[in-house]
């Protein structure tokens, strides 16, 4: 393996890992803010208990999101310096703005929220967590702006003198049509992920705790979470559908790779599952839905979908015959099909399954009911994992499906890597970060389990910001 391989593996591992914590942070901050708002308005202690219970779990998750985020920013310069030189003028701006607008907001107001229970009035305190949530939305918008530009570069020109991409229209970059659908798609998926976490934890706790008081508490958690998840789930499907059509327009190869459609078809069917020969070139067995791919790509069940072979010829005509040696033979612009094919299916399948299970859980816990049987516990544990994994597969599809390009049509991944970094450095970085991340994953899951088992505090201290006793212990302390 060379520097390019190590850098790619690192980017994949580090980014997928980071994006486990990000959607939980986005979704859960909104739900917790909702709970605390309900408490401030109604003074019903149940909402305070839910706020504090999920607040603790939120912080355990947030810590890893923060520290893994630093690596995200550094690795562009460390492993992808030629990319950074080439795109910095366009891509750097949203990153810098993300830091200034979002990271400061999130970190500062989260500190106020964690430690400020007895220092701020209830209204000000709840405003802090809403501000944190607003910060997560800003953050998402700007980082997705940067990613959308890689998917569909707009608002720039190539300057042959400086040899780089230079921004000409910031508004075009900010309101890229890919961005306008990617942002809602990602945010709704994040709400779904946060809500699935709430539903799974609440349901599991309900199945374990048998006193009426706790049952009632977690039932509130479960219902609010499930409602958010169902609404967000529908939104994810709708935005995903629009996203597919825009993708077909700007990166037709990605849609062809999603179905492993080698030759243009009209109408094109969509295979739920395919068993092929080991080299992936011929299929042995397949379950197909007629016209579905046409519908996903064009909105009509009779639409024409271009195949990989036809697109390859077209890409050759447009971009020449060298997509960046190493992984691609001359003239080949085909992404790695097994990954695009399966990640596309897992993304959709897990998203649909998760939403369906949330509806089922909502149904079996209707009124005062509670199902019995051990299988339900596994469903409770499995539910939060579904949107989480769907997110990961979605990103794998989106990024791997763009290959061989780093910036579509402009710069290949092989051209983007740091030329000055040694194999030793790149390998050390990959190994060290992966090991550190693995240890942290074990620690984090251990803590989550411990605090979920610990359950919501019985009689939470009602914060009193008017108490001026100088010797009063801190409401929260590390």
């Amino acid at each position: 393996m060379d520097v390019l391989d190590f850098a790619r593996w690192q980017f994949g591992i580090i980014t997928v890992y980071h994006f486990l914590f990000v959607p939980i942070t986005i979704g859960l901050s909104a739900i917790i803010a909702g709970y605390e708002t309900a408490w401030v308005r109604t003074r019903n202690e149940q909402w305070l208990r839910l706020t504090k219970f999920f607040g603790k779990l939120f912080l355990i998750n947030f810590a890893l999101g923060v520290v893994t985020g630093i690596v995200q920013e550094f690795q562009f310069g460390m492993n992808w310096s030629d990319y950074s030189r080439f795109v910095g003028d366009v891509f750097g701006a949203p990153l810098a703005i993300e830091g200034l607008l979002a990271f400061f907001l999130e970190s500062t107001f989260l500190g106020l929220w964690i430690f400020g229970w007895d220092r701020l009035s209830p209204k000000l305190h709840v405003a802090c967590i809403w501000t944190v949530h607003l910060g997560t939305l800003f953050s998402s918008y700007f980082i997705l702006t940067a990613n959308s530009w890689m998917q569909h570069p707009v608002g720039y020109r190539y300057n042959p003198t400086t040899g780089r991409a230079e921004m000409t229209d910031f508004a075009a970059v900010l309101f890229n049509k890919v961005q306008l659908v990617t942002f809602p798609h990602t945010i709704l998926a994040a709400y779904m992920t946060g809500a699935a976490f709430v539903v799974g934890v609440s349901f599991w706790s309900m199945l374990r705790k048998h006193n009426a008081d706790d049952q009632n508490l977690y039932r509130h958690g479960l219902r609010t979470g499930a409602v958010v998840m169902l609404i967000a789930g529908i939104g994810v499907a709708v935005s995903g559908d629009i996203s597919g059509k825009i993708m077909t327009e700007v990166q037709p190869m990605k849609m062809a790779a999603a179905e492993a459609l080698y030759n243009t078809q009209q109408p094109a069917s969509f295979s739920i599952l395919t068993v092929g020969t080991p080299d992936g070139k011929h299929e042995k067995f397949s379950i197909k839905v007629p016209g579905l791919l046409s519908f996903l790509a064009t909105g009509s069940t009779h639409g024409k979908v271009e195949g990989i072979n036809q697109l390859r010829a077209r890409y050759q005509a447009t971009y020449g015959s060298d997509p960046g040696a190493k992984y691609y033979s001359p003239g080949d612009y085909t992404p790695y099909i097994p990954v695009t094919y399966w990640s596309f299916r897992f993304m959709i399948g897990l998203g649909v399954l998760g939403t369906g299970l949330a509806a089922l859980i909502l149904f079996v816990t209707r009124r005062e009911k509670l199902p019995t049987g051990r299988a339900w516990r596994w469903i409770a544990i499995g539910l939060p994992l579904m949107p989480l994994l769907a997110n990961s597969f979605g990103w794998l599809f989106s990024e791997m499906g763009r290959q061989p390009w780093a910036v579509f049509g402009v710069m290949t991944t092989a051209q983007a890597v740091s030329p000055g970094v040694s194999t030793f450095e790149a390998r050390t970085s990959l190994v060290v970060l992966t090991l550190v991340y693995a240890v942290l994953a074990v620690v984090e899951v251990g803590l989550l389990v411990k605090y979920i088992k610990g359950g919501a505090e019985k009689d939470p201290v009602v914060p009193d910001h008017t108490d001026n006793d100088p010797d009063r212990p801190l409401a929260f302390a590390y």
Binding site: A63, V66, S84, G92, I97, L105, T108, M167
Partner: protein, 339 residues
């Protein structure tokens, strides 16, 4: 003024924000095993920075992001060149960040002892390495004609850079001791004050040596003025802490770090990363910069939002202005804790 110069100044401001703020965070972490004799005292120390350390660290992220946007070539050469030191800094920042959040989440001595080590080393390492990195930038490193760093790792460990690392370590430690004396009460406050004097003197000696060396090799009139002002601030802070004026003492180290870093940037200008090779190219504010258009947009954003950030971060310090002492520390609230 040229926009490239404006952004050079803004990058300097971001690093000044980072070093003055996370500087005392690092100091508190380094002093954890020294000042924190008991578990309650260690918790007092950690909670002095509890609500603010994360916000302080964002200054680094914004400095990095702003360099990416405003000086892409600088960002690319620096980050790919100083690869291994940056990797070490990343691991250190990961370890200490998680440690703050997770340390009190289990009532288990071995658990806490492990995280205490993460806080100590996670603070010590960046405190040294940032000094080493900045000294190397000033000194000049081998950058070839393709703007690539070609020096390797051990090239970064020269006497001048190591002196820079010692200086930042001592300065941040003294700054942290000043902060602890300002933010705590009782026995620990007294000990922090004594320690601030001692480490402050050592920091002053290192700073005079390093800044003097810098002034002789790359300095100019502006940097000389700022370095002298930094030294005077540090000494004034030491006099203040001797007289038990903790607020003024902290302000002294704060100003010393700010003025010192400002002086280093003035000494660097108009280069951003000079080369030490005869046939290499130095990166300058103009040759490493983004386009006028991008810098213009960034300027508008920075002018609007930087004051806002300063305002709400200052407000946080105001909200958590109360001194903390051991009797403020609540019992551990981890589930399964026997009370």
């Amino acid at each position: 003024m040229e926009l490239t110069t404006v952004w050079f100044i803004l990058i300097a401001v971001l690093w000044i924000g980072y070093f003055t703020l996370e500087g005392f965070d690092f100091g508190v972490g380094i002093l954890l095993p020294v000042l924190g004799r008991t578990e309650s005292e260690r918790r007092v120390l950690i909670n002095t920075i509890g609500p603010v350390w994360d916000g302080n660290e964002v200054w680094l992220l914004v400095a990095g992001g702003a360099t990416f946007a405003a000086f892409p070539e600088w960002y690319a050469t620096l980050f790919s060149g100083f690869y291994l030191p940056l990797l070490l800094i990343l691991v250190a920042l990961i370890a200490r960040g998680v440690a703050f959040e997770y340390r009190a989440k289990r009532d288990d001595e071995r658990w806490r002892a492990a995280w205490d080590k993460a806080i100590f080393f996670g603070s010590l390492l960046p405190a040294v390495l940032w000094g080493v990195a900045f000294a190397n930038i000033l000194r000049g490193v081998p950058i070839d004609a393709h703007k690539e760093y070609v020096g390797g790792f051990f090239n970064l460990l020269n006497p001048y850079a190591l002196l820079g690392g010692v200086m930042t370590l001592l300065l941040f430690t003294a700054h942290g001791a000043m902060f602890v004396s300002l933010k705590t009460d009782g026995d620990i406050r007294h000990r922090a004050r004594v320690l601030a004097g001692g480490t402050g003197l050592a920091a002053a000696a290192a700073a005079v040596a390093f800044l003097g060396w810098t002034q002789v090799s790359t300095g100019n009139l502006g940097s000389a003025f700022l370095f002298v002002a930094a030294a005077v601030s540090l000494l004034a802070g030491l006099v203040a802490i001797q007289r038990h004026r903790e607020g003024w003492g902290f302000l002294g180290t704060f100003a010393a770090i700010a003025l010192g870093v400002a002086g280093l940037f003035v000494a660097l200008f108009p280069d951003v990363m000079p080369t030490s090779l005869a046939d290499g190219v130095s990166l300058t504010t103009t040759s490493a910069a983004a386009t006028h258009y991008t810098l213009g947009i960034m300027t508008v954003v920075a002018v609007i939002f930087t004051p806002l950030v300063l305002a709400y971060q200052a407000w946080t310090y105001w909200v958590f202005r109360k001194r903390i002492s051991v009797h403020h520390i609540p019992v551990l609230a981890a589930p399964g804790t026997t009370r």
